[in-house]
């Protein structure tokens, strides 16, 4: 171990999932996620695992629901249009307590959308998308290394809380190649008391999202809310960059946060005190990261029309000091472009 490989994001994620003991994959081909399916199709015979090319994302998401009901790790990957089809099962899995991992390689959207880098699915993955009161943990890596690192954690979080976990990337992170150190291969620990394997030597298990009356339904929902509240309290993750002395803080996740790293460097070279908070969990949103940040301006940068802005406004001490810059349709800003935007705002705010 410890060997550095030069690998594509999608493939590093897939190999990392296999090493985490996920030997069941089903999915429907959709750019820019398809390499994950292709990788699994190639690797599963070697691992004595199962790869199924599903007829639709609807089926794929429900297949992993079934697979996780047996206690085994299972994953699917798709892009925005496919995730839209799968949200029915997201609602189901969150309610039924099925710990699947879903990769959403985001597209710009709405509708078809281009296949290049974009973050058009923030609302869809963070605010639900499916019916009812539910949440799913959403992890947003920003490098190939982090894709490899967060994948095993996604399975662990999913099983810890019995809730689906989404990993979001995009056309840049998924296709990007970088040096990566893959995680060690592990055997999945399975000591669950709720799985469906045939009721041998134990009372039978039932997984259902149906209660028998309004009071029972409410109780069922209150129990779910407890689960989501616990996750929200315990699992906020973020990375902060040079925020101590910063008077201007970029808030960005995923690929655009990577771009912003170079922007911060340039800004500092030019005497501007710029820092960054990079949410790693989009849900739960890392509110804790913002609690103490008084007297600072924030620039939310996203590859969409500003879907994360309201979460930032709810987290900062003064929502009037939150600004937004976004690119749409698969266009990515350069580090200089972001720098110019910050310089402009900096001048305006410090007049």
């Amino acid at each position: 171990m410890g060997e550095k490989l030069f690998m594509q994001g999608n493939e590093a994620l897939a190999e990392s999932a296999i090493r985490a003991g996920c030997k069941f994959y089903c999915g429907y081909p959709i750019t820019p996620s398809s390499e994950i399916a292709e990788y699994y199709a190639k690797r599963m015979p070697e691992e004595n695992g199962v790869f199924i090319q599903a007829e639709t994302e609807v089926a794929a998401f429900n297949m992993i629901a079934g697979a996780t009901a047996t206690g085994n790790r299972a994953m699917t990957a798709t892009s925005g249009p496919g995730f839209s089809l799968g949200v029915e099962a997201m609602s189901f899995m969150a309610a039924a307590g099925l710990p699947a991992v879903i990769v959403d390689v985001m597209r710009p959207g709405p509708a078809d959308g281009d296949i290049l880098a974009a973050q058009g699915d923030y609302f869809q993955v963070v605010k639900g998308g499916g019916h009812g009161d539910y949440n799913t943990i959403v992890l947003a890596p920003f490098s190939v290394q982090e894709m490899a690192d967060l994948t095993p954690q996604a399975f662990e979080l999913a099983e810890k809380y019995r809730n689906p976990v989404v990993i979001v990337s995009d056309g840049m992170l998924a296709k990007m190649m970088e040096s990566v150190e893959l995680p060690e291969k592990i055997e999945q620990k399975k000591n669950f008391d709720w799985t469906l394997t045939g009721a041998k030597g134990r009372k039978h298990n039932v997984i259902t999202t149906c209660a028998t009356g309004p009071e029972q339904w409410e109780q069922f929902n209150l129990e779910l809310q407890k689960k989501f509240n616990t996750i929200a309290a315990n699992e906020q993750r973020w990375e902060a960059y040079q925020i101590e002395d910063a008077d201007f803080i970029i808030v960005a996740f995923g690929s655009v946060a990577r771009i912003a790293l170079s922007t911060i460097k340039k800004a500092r070279e030019n005497g501007l005190k710029v820092g960054m908070i990079r949410p790693i969990t989009l849900w739960p949103f890392p509110k804790k990261a913002f609690a103490e940040l008084k007297d600072k301006d924030f620039l939310v940068v996203e590859l969409n029309a500003g879907q994360m802005v309201e979460d930032v406004k709810l987290a900062v001490p003064d929502k009037e000091r939150v600004f937004f810059y976004g690119r749409l349709g698969g266009v990515t800003p350069t580090p200089d472009e972001l720098f110019n935007k910050i310089r402009e705002l900096y001048a305006k705010n410090n007049q």
């Binding site: 030069f6 190649m177 970088e178 040096s179």
Partner: protein, 174 residues
Amino acid sequence: MKHEVIFSGIGGQGVILAGKLLCTAAAKEGYTVTLAPAYGQEKRGGRTSCQVVISDEIGSPVISEADLILVFDEKSLEDYENKVKKDGYLLINSSMINIEPKRTDIKVVKIPLNDVANEVGNARTANMVALGAVLKYFDLISLEDMKQIMAKEMKSSIVEINQKALQAGYDYVG
């Protein structure tokens, strides 16, 4: 230390493979390397480009201004001329590009990639001619190291012809 390179051409020309080999070699040297490819939706004939960042630290995979840009076709020249850093290199595939760049604050090098590839004996090796030329402008990776990487990464039946093309590109810019 940071080197930023862009290859841009038409799908099927092997633009990304050239970038990938450059990165693989640099990664082997211990650098932090990022290759960000961009494809059109069509499998062949669409725009294909890749941005290569070779550095000591993790940073943006998107390049503001590149140290070197290699363009295979006229559309790529039009799109990328402005992204070359002042005093940076613009390598032009003169086999396919008949227009002139407008900028005067950059170093322009013309190489007939397809013609050189044809002389080597395989028209499909124009991307390796390009890679050979690019190596000349970097002191990061030696020609020999790159040949070894190619031997490892490519099907054995095509290694030799591609190594020849690499050498020809390297020698052309002399």
